[in-house]
């Protein structure tokens, strides 16, 4: 377990002047519109067409439902539920086992190859395996998501729990912290920066697996709708689903980043002063 999933250096979406830097996106959108209109290729509808199609698909419902259409209400909530349930379950499993493996060198030595192997299996491979075992549905999708995204959390927690600052450990020993205090007040907090790095990777991976599992074996969800658009040969609808998934990914990233900043404020500050 020497090489945990390494966090790609992150950008800061909320850095100052962000709004003023949005103009390149507008520019690209305008260019996109012009080029697609001129080229008139059916696979690449102009953004305006995509927006109209998105409105048609999802925003034609009654005001009481916030104008969300049945298609939106049928597909968005299940997707989000799967995504978050899977991610949270994987987070819990990953942190618990990560702490265990991080603190027990012997146990880690026994489980090491299994972890490496499990992590290396491309998670979509599980779908054809699980579908005959569990049949199509949410339990099967959740299993896929949990199995696929647990590794970054697990490996990062192991790393974080293993390399607790020696001075922290000794302070805890000198002042006679109990096992529980050591775990809750020393090991877990000092592993949180790593745990969060793992959770962030897992979140984007969970989105990917949510989509795959819905593309392959589902009867609802955004991925399912995407597949339907493909089968119905409806490029604007397909692009619409893509836009929604992209926005979802962006919002998740941003939300996670905000929470992380808050929770780990001590980490950044403590790093700056030393």
């Amino acid at each position: 377990m020497k090489s945990p999933a390494h966090a790609a250096p992150r950008s800061t979406p909320s850095s100052p002047g962000f709004l003023t830097r949005l103009w390149p996106i507008l520019l690209v959108l305008v260019l996109w519109e012009v080029v697609t209109r001129v080229a008139a290729n059916g696979f690449f509808p102009p953004p305006s067409t995509i927006v109209v199609r998105m409105r048609e698909m999802w925003l034609t419902g009654p005001a009481a439902h916030l104008w969300l259409s049945d298609a939106a209400l049928d597909n968005f909530p299940p997707s989000l539920a799967r995504l978050f349930t899977g991610w949270i379950l994987a987070g819990i499993v990953g942190v618990v086992f990560g702490l265990l493996l991080g603190r027990s060198v012997v146990l880690a030595r026994f489980v090491d190859p299994l972890v490496h192997f499990g992590r290396a299996i491309p998670p979509p491979m599980l779908l054809p395996l699980l579908i005959p075992l569990m049949s199509i549905g949410t339990p099967m999708q959740l299993t896929t998501i949990v199995f696929g995204v647990v590794w970054p959390v697990l490996l990062n927690t192991v790393e974080g729990a293993r390399y607790v600052d020696r001075q922290h450990v000794e302070t805890a020993r000198v002042f006679g912290f109990t096992r529980g205090q050591r775990l809750w007040r020393v090991i877990l907090p000092s592993a949180t920066p790593k745990i969060f790095a793992g959770l962030r990777l897992s979140l984007s991976l969970a989105l990917i697996l949510m989509v795959v599992s819905e593309l392959v074996g589902s009867t609802n969800g955004i991925g399912f709708q995407l597949r339907e658009s493909e089968r119905a040969f409806d490029p604007p609808g397909l692009w619409g689903s893509l836009v929604v998934l992209g926005l979802l990914g962006y919002v998740l990233n941003l939300a996670f980043f905000t929470v992380e900043r808050r929770v780990l404020s001590w980490h950044r500050a403590a790093k700056q002063t030393t």
Binding site: R21, I25, V111, P113, P128, L226
Partner: protein, 263 residues
């Protein structure tokens, strides 16, 4: 000396761990703990896994997946590394493009597979295209990040000796960015395998591990072969990943020694 003993110990422990799991699974299977006889016995799976190693049809499929994987990865490196270097050395352009990257990167790559199915009639092109989209991000970001990390003193030293910007890029910036690029490529390698398999599962077609698995699922004892193929996919992942790590350690010993970076 003691280090070697520890390593041996580690291998023994790891083997014991694997063996224990296999035996437990076998025992549980024989005792009927897995409910109906849907899940094949561990011994059957092991036998099938060994069998597949000599199965020509399966090996052809593995070769097809790995071809798409390596071509896709090569294309990504060939395009993305120069692009990253360019963006990394032109901060103004980078600042302009940054919001675009931030909006494009979170799009879950597999969601592009249905679109790619419509766009690419050829399965290999399709796989390479989605692999490219998914694996360009870690490489691009790592390259830009690594370039920013280059020691300015080293650059100025060379410049003070009268070297031009291209020489500085070639002699200082590129070598010190290389370890970051390598990390990006390793991460991209894992993602590329996921995409290759997903594309095969979704797009059908006649070759690749994913296609093999779909074909197997239609036969009555297919599950045994599906699990065996999954085991091989895991082994492929382990092997490629450790090859990358081994190469990184060998090539960039100076990097880890200097910065203590966990690559």
């Amino acid at each position: 000396m003691s280090g070697r003993a520890l390593l041996r110990n580690r291998v023994v422990c790891g083997a014991l761990g694997v063996a224990t799991l296999l035996l437990l699974a076998e025992a549980a299977g024989r005792a009927g703990l897995f409910g109906q006889d849907t899940l094949p016995l561990t011994s059957t799976i092991v036998a099938r896994t060994v069998e597949l190693a000599g199965d020509e049809e399966f090996l052809t499929d593995v070769a097809a997946t790995m071809t798409a994987w390596s071509l896709g990865l090569l294309l990504t490196v060939a395009v993305t590394v120069p692009l990253g270097l360019l963006l990394g050395s032109l901060p103004k352009v980078e600042a302009t493009v940054r919001p675009l990257i931030e909006f494009l990167r979170p799009i879950p790559s597999v969601a592009l597979i249905p679109l790619a199915i419509l766009l690419f009639p050829d399965r290999l092109d399709l796989k390479i295209a989605v692999i490219f989209y998914a694996s360009c991000w870690p490489i691009l970001i790592n390259t830009m990040y690594g370039l920013r990390d280059v020691d300015p003193v080293a650059k100025e030293t060379l410049r003070s000796f009268g070297f031009g910007p291209l020489a500085v890029l070639w002699r200082v910036s590129l070598p010190s960015t290389a370890p970051f690029i390598a990390t990006g490529v390793r991460l991209a390698g894992g993602i590329a395998l996921i995409l290759a398999v997903s594309a095969e599962l979704l797009a059908g077609g006649s070759d690749g591990i994913g296609a093999y698995v779909i074909e197997a699922s239609s036969s009555p004892d297919g599950l045994e072969f599906i699990i065996a193929a999954t085991v091989w996919a895991g082994i492929l992942g382990v092997v490629t990943n450790s090859l990358f790590i081994g190469a990184e350690r060998r090539l960039f010993r100076w990097h880890t020694a200097r910065a203590g970076v966990a690559a």
